[in-house]
């Protein structure tokens, strides 16, 4: 066992990279759930975004167009969920599961020609000055734009939900869609927008895996990250900053346990592999001991009958 092989700077820097896909997907799902929609299709939208982004980046040579295509792809796939649940009034759980299976299958089909291909690298943003700060600068300020965007997005979502009128209406729709309808708010439209936002975020998160984190394309490469994102939203009590904590905790322990495995720690690999899940859940359960409550209309079908 050689713990000195673990470079703390690299460890902390890669923690942030590992956490970003989860953070993006969970933030999008948070908005959808705050609007009262339970979209279990996060995994499907992520993997679809991963291949859309990967293929576009390879074909155009631009990772930025790749990320853009990934969000558009995720959003388009989520429109399917909009049609099923908001227009056809289908059950949200079943529709979400179908979306995940569909996304996994479709991405495998689209990605057949891309196995083994290397994507164009996503340049890191070395912020002048800040990235020269020893230790902290290397950890915090040597990442790519998408990673910073994910943190800014959490802040924006927090601000949106907390202090904007639109955010208030979104929460109201998720809380009591009948009352929101009675006050004249367009429940279906608001929910559809929330779902599409969630889809775009999930797609972006998926592309972050295929373009930055790994970076390559393999079938099913999201490997359950979408499900972790879903669970994070719940354990984070639908609060943006807690989602951030949860995502970084999960990312951190994932990276740490990989390093520990590499360093040959005398703990069976299986325990190390399950540790991120257990520790993240335990910590968030402890955090959410206060009166955390799901949006009251979460998962319920709205039909404007009066």
């Amino acid at each position: 066992m050689d713990l000195s092989a673990i470079n703390p700077i690299l460890l902390l820097a890669s923690l942030m990279v590992a956490a970003t896909p989860i953070l993006l997907a969970a933030t999008g799902e948070l908005i959808a759930e705050k609007a009262g929609v339970l979209n279990l299709g996060v995994e499907g939208m992520m993997i679809f975004g991963a291949i859309c982004g990967f293929a576009t980046a390879v074909e155009t040579g631009s990772p930025w167009l790749g990320f853009l295509a990934a969000s558009v792809g995720g959003a388009v796939l989520s429109l399917l969920f909009v049609i099923l649940t908001q227009l056809a009034l289908a059950n949200q759980v079943a529709s979400g599961l179908a979306l995940t299976l569909f996304g996994l299958g479709l991405s495998a089909l689209l990605g057949q020609g891309y196995v083994g291909v290397k994507p164009p690298p996503t340049p890191d943003l070395h912020i002048p000055g800040l990235s020269q700060i020893p230790f902290v600068g290397e950890i915090l300020f040597t990442h790519d734009v998408v990673l910073y965007f994910s943190i800014v997005l959490v802040a924006l979502v927090w601000l949106f939900l907390r202090s904007t009128r639109a955010g208030l209406i979104l929460r109201a729709v998720g809380e009591n869609h009948d009352a929101a309808h009675a006050l004249g708010y367009k429940v279906v439209l608001i929910r559809s927008l929330a779902i599409v936002f969630g889809g775009a975020c999930a797609g972006l998160g998926g592309a972050y895996i295929s373009l930055v984190r790994v970076p390559q394309w393999t079938e099913g490469m999201t490997a359950g990250v979408g499900w972790i994102a879903l669970a994070l939203v719940v354990f984070a009590s639908w609060r943006p900053w807690r989602v951030l904590i949860g995502a970084y905790l999960f990312g951190g322990i994932t990276v740490l346990q990989l390093n520990l495995q590499a360093a040959g720690v005398a703990i069976p690999v299986e325990y190390l592999a399950m540790s991120p899940y257990i520790i993240t859940i335990v910590v968030l359960v402890l955090l959410s001991r206060d009166k955390a409550r799901a949006p009251a209309a979460l998962g319920r079908i709205f039909h404007a009958s009066s």
């Binding site: 009128r165 208030l168 209406i169 109201a172 009352a179 009675a182 006050l183 009251a296 009066s306």
Partner: protein, 512 residues
């Protein structure tokens, strides 16, 4: 007659199987307080929903200040100066008071300014309310204040109030009326729906009476007796509850010196509460909602557990027994909140009958349910209490408030309780149904049941109670014989209007 504000002509709206409104016409003048009367299901709610833009009429026209008025959505109606206080509160429980108010406004100010205005208006109109509280923790009466203040902040021209006083105490009603009269004198018209005919006589200038969707007449409430109005509504004569003197027996239910904290963060804890009810006695418990009513019902029904000896049924300690065990012993309860507490909204009436009737009516055996028996029991409730529904297979949610109330009270009454606890038994129920429910409680007492009736409706309590006690801030006054008790004495027992102030008219004027 003053200038006409809203003219309604031949409005018709049909739903599958029922014509909710059939050629309804009437006018509301500027500053007029206009009452809309009718039994449950007479089409009052549909009519006001059309005015508020929630429902589109099939035919007929509305004219607002001489121009055609056809609001496509509530937002348009609100923009034209129409505001509505809903019967079933349209509030968001997880949000704060200020956020709820903001959602009902077209162009709300900053949260901080809004909170200040809420405080101002609430004080001006004697409706105290903390803008930062979560609505889910408020009592029914407090929730209504949120709705009223939401409307008042919009400076409405026409204020629609659907059953506004059903959850208020007489003092609160008086203050609400002062508010409404003041609004009316400022030129705001009020369309007022209520079952309480005496209130309508005290408040309203004109009344339109609906029966089965048709306008069956108008009257000037001040010149019409409550009985005449009730008979216009029913289309026949009205039965007034009568009581035959019954024997008062042994102590059936006793609580001694009980203090329990409220399970809700903002609830009222019970403090040193003592109750004695004898078989055949009706004890009325009056007081403003939010003074421990829900907790008292919880303690009696077994939803809130206490020390074993603190609650005794026929001298037997039951404080640690849950609701099912207490039901088995004959202690039954019907809580206030119909949807969600007394009845499961999405389950059928048969299933709802089973939920509380299983133990005493023998609807289950060895864990298996007897559906035929449950259905028969549900049908018996529907028949005995004149619940208007196509059949017991309908969901509880589909019934109107009054009909569901008849069902949940009837369900307990028919289980031959030895002690029955009811909370707000006639909330939102029309005059004839309320009379039927009160009659059922009286009949029950006459057969030797001890009844505890928690209510905010003092007229109701005076009508049926033998003894009266007041619940204020979690403390219960010693009971007094109800006969001969005057309104002033009751007011003293209630300790005045809690947290209420008489409207500061000066401040209110400064606002406008």
């Amino acid at each position: 007659m003053t200038e006409t504000l809203l003219k309604i002509e031949r409005l018709t709206k049909a739903y599958p199987g029922v014509v909710a409104n059939d050629n309804v016409s009437f006018d509301i003048g500027v500053g007029e307080v206009h009452a809309l009367l009718g039994e449950n299901g007479a089409g009052k709610s549909t009519l006001v929903k059309m005015i508020y833009g929630l429902v589109k009429p099939d035919s007929g026209t509305m004219t607002l200040r001489g121009t055609p008025f056809a609001p496509a959505e509530p937002r348009a109606a609100r923009a034209d100066g129409i505001a509505m206080v809903f019967q079933h509160f349209s509030l968001f429980e997880a949000l704060t008071v200020a956020e709820n108010v903001a959602l009902g406004m077209e162009d709300p100010p900053q949260m901080r300014d809004l909170a200040r205005r809420i405080t101002e208006v609430s004080e001006a109109y004697g409706l105290p309310l903390d803008p930062s509280r979560i609505v889910g923790d408020l009592s029914a009466g407090e929730r209504q204040r949120v709705e009223i203040i939401r409307c008042l902040l919009q400076d409405p021209k026409l204020l629609i109030m659907d059953e506004p006083t059903s959850v208020l105490t007489p003092q609160e009603v008086e203050i609400l009326f002062q508010t409404l009269r003041k609004l009316s004198s400022e030129g705001t018209a009020i369309l007022y729906i209520s079952h309480k005919l005496e209130e309508i006589r005290a408040l309203c200038d004109n009344a339109t009476i609906l029966r089965l969707g048709k306008n069956v007449g108008t009257c000037v409430p001040r010149d019409t007796t409550a009985k005449e109005m009730a008979e216009l509504m029913v289309g026949g004569t009205l039965q007034i509850p009568t009581r035959k003197p019954g024997e008062v027996g042994e102590i059936a239910m006793e609580i001694s010196g009980l203090s329990v904290p409220s399970p809700s963060e903002f609830g009222t804890s019970l403090k040193d509460v003592s109750i004695q009810v004898r078989a055949g006695e009706i004890l009325g418990v009056g007081g403003v909602a939010g003074n421990g009513q829900d907790e008292l019902l919880g303690v009696l029904s077994g939803e809130i557990l206490s020390a074993p000896d603190a609650v005794q049924l026929h001298g037997q300690p039951v404080g640690r027994l849950g609701p099912v065990a207490r039901r088995r012993l004959g202690l039954l309860a019907a809580p206030e909140e119909r949807l969600g507490h007394a009845a499961a909204p999405n389950m059928s009436l048969t299933e709802n009958a089973l939920l509380t009737g299983a133990v005493r009516e023998g609807l289950e055996r060895n864990g298996f349910l007897s559906w035929p028996k449950a259905k028969t029991f549900a049908e018996r409730i529907i028949e005995t209490f004149d619940v208007r529904t196509p059949g017991p297979e309908n969901a509880a949610r589909s019934l109107s408030g009054g009909n569901l109330q008849k069902f949940v009270i009837g369900r307990e009454v028919l289980q031959r309780p030895e002690v029955l606890v009811v909370n707000q038994p006639t909330w939102g129920v029309d005059a004839s149904a309320a009379a039927a429910i009160r009659q059922a409680l009286l009949d029950l007492a006459q057969k030797g049941t001890a009844v505890i009736c928690i209510s905010q409706d003092l007229d109701e309590l005076m009508e049926i109670s033998d003894n009266f006690a007041a619940l204020t801030e979690g403390r219960l006054s010693p009971p007094r014989a109800a006969a001969g008790l005057t309104v002033e004495q009751i007011g003293l027992m209630l300790g005045g209007a809690h947290g209420m102030e008489v409207a500061h008219i000066d401040t209110a004027e400064a606002r406008t």
